[in-house]
């Protein structure tokens, strides 16, 4: 199963629960930026299921004629500002990120979280010059938890997953972006049935409960 980097922790747990509920079926994951994964799949990487952090990359799979079933939205996510634990610099919102003395990292424009960050800056009417454009959302989180960067724009769920390593400063709803996560089986998959079963499990009560635990919104 190929899944967006922001799904790392939640999907690992969903996978375990799925394995427990369906003896004989195991879910193994490859996590990376959705854009990297869709490129790998179109190059023939053996994926049964693709879970994307945006519809644009799922559309790419559709264009390539590679999705098995219709994609379904299984979760939503909001974006937030990730800061060091306790927010030592007292960052209050997106406008603060425009400060040139602040080391800010966001995702590259090529990956969904980077596009979302740019949209949010546009909504807020601020110009942010990032110090680094990371290749996936985990790169942003890691640079903040390692203390190299002061702030970054990531998904709410990434900060939840970082535990004590990071805190968040909320981005108000009127300028935020709601990220919708679609999932679909991949055409030519060796085990399409197991893939369908996994999607049913994920959109079912148990799967949705786990996703909520990690901070994802319901579709």
């Amino acid at each position: 199963m190929f899944a967006a980097a922001s799904l790392t922790e939640s999907f690992t747990e969903v996978g375990e629960a799925f394995g427990a509920a369906n003896p004989g079926a195991t879910a193994t994951f490859s996590f990376d930026a959705s854009s990297a994964l869709v490129e790998q799949i179109t190059q023939g990487a053996p994926a049964d299921v693709f879970a994307s952090a945006d519809s644009a990359n799922m559309d790419k799979l559709t264009e390539a004629g590679l999705h098995g079933g219709e994609p379904v939205i299984f979760a939503t996510n909001l974006l937030t500002i990730v800061v060091a634990p306790g927010n030592p610099l007292g960052i209050t919102g997106v406008a603060d990120l425009a400060d040139a003395d602040l080391t800010t990292v966001i995702c590259a424009d090529e990956v969904p979280c980077g596009r979302y960050a740019t949209e949010i800056f546009a909504h807020a009417g601020v110009t942010v010059t990032a110090d680094s454009l990371e290749q996936n959302v985990r790169g942003v989180v890691n640079k903040v938890t390692a203390g190299e960067a002061d702030a970054g724009v990531v998904y709410v769920t990434d900060v939840t997953a970082a535990g004590d390593g990071a805190d968040m400063v909320e981005i108000p709803e009127d300028i935020n972006v709601l990220a919708e996560y679609p999932i679909a089986t991949v055409e030519g998959s060796g085990s399409a049935e197991v893939g369908e079963t996994f999607i049913e499990f994920l959109t079912g009560t148990e799967g949705q409960a786990i996703m909520a635990e990690y901070g994802f919104g319901a579709p």
């Binding site: 854009s35 990297a36 490129e39 090529e110 680094s132 990371e134 290749q135 640079k143 190299e148």
Partner: protein, 280 residues
């Protein structure tokens, strides 16, 4: 096979020609195909029509310029620090030299991402030494061009060190002794006797280190991040381009392949162990 016998013997064997048993030939050709196929695939998918416009775009030129600058600086840094280190490892017996050699070549075999993470904890803003750079001089390496050079030097210098150390070891030290007894200073002997003797190893080591620095990806993106014009070298630009526009990625890759291949071909015969020994 590398002929190790005296020159006369080498000559005779060359005339007779080397006959490999056919299973060896088959395996050797399989190995050549294994190396050639991926590059043929790359050439086959190249957007020849748009190649020029892609390569002369601002973003491509910026990444190329940064890549060349950083890899050149990294090679010079590797030479500056690596040659004395190689000299010490080859010539000065000291307890724990095996340990030191292992330490200084570790970054060559580690996954580059590990090297990048380790650099964080050594030279990053919260790192062992990095925190003092930040506190005392307000200077941090991550997200800077200097950070890229540091990351590249870290993974590339071992290639120079092991090559130059081997050259130092193979050198006949009696010439240096003779020069010394004739009254030459240490520095003069190093410049006029030692350096010319190890020159092939020096060039080979510097080129290998340069090629490694040019292709460096993992340590760079982990330690220095990715920002066009500052830390986005060619490999980083290729990685990101591949996610939205594979054709652009292929075009950029071709440049790296061409540059690296050209340099290796130009230097191979004389310095990288192919062809005749340089003084034959």
């Amino acid at each position: 096979m590398i002929p190790t016998a005296a020159p006369e013997t080498v000559h005779r064997r060359r005339v007779a020609g080397e006959r490999l048993p056919w299973p060896f030939l088959v395996l050797a050709f399989a190995a050549i195909a294994f190396f050639a196929l991926p590059f043929l695939g790359l050439l086959g998918r190249a957007p020849w029509g748009d190649l020029w416009s892609i390569l002369t775009s601002d973003s491509a030129l910026t990444a190329l310029r940064l890549s060349l600058w950083c890899s050149l600086c990294a090679s010079l840094a590797a030479l500056l620090f690596g040659v004395p280190l190689a000299w010490m490892l080859a010539r000065v017996p000291f307890p724990g030299s095996g340990f030191v050699r292992a330490l200084c070549t570790l970054s060559m075999v580690l996954p580059p991402v590990v090297a990048g993470v380790a650099l964080f904890y050594g030279l990053g803003r919260r790192g062992l030494v990095g925190q003092y750079l930040d506190r005392w001089f307000g200077f941090t390496l991550p997200f800077t061009t200097t950070g890229v050079i540091v990351a590249q030097t870290f993974v590339a210098m071992p290639f120079l060190v092991i090559t130059v150390e081997a050259a130092f070891r193979q050198q006949d030290t009696r010439f240096e002794d003779a020069a010394r007894t004739l009254g030459a200073s240490r520095w003069y002997v190093f410049r006029r006797v030692t350096l010319p003797a190890i020159r092939p190893g020096l060039v080979a080591g510097a080129v290998l280190a340069w090629a490694r620095a040019l292709g460096e990806f993992g340590a760079t993106i982990t330690f220095a991040g990715n920002f066009p014009g500052r830390t986005q070298t060619m490999p980083l630009a290729i990685y990101l381009a591949n996610e939205i526009d594979p054709e652009e990625a292929i075009a950029l890759s071709l440049v790296l392949v061409a540059v690296s291949f050209g340099v290796l071909v130009a230097l191979r015969d004389r310095y990288l162990g192919g062809g005749r020994p340089p003084h034959a």
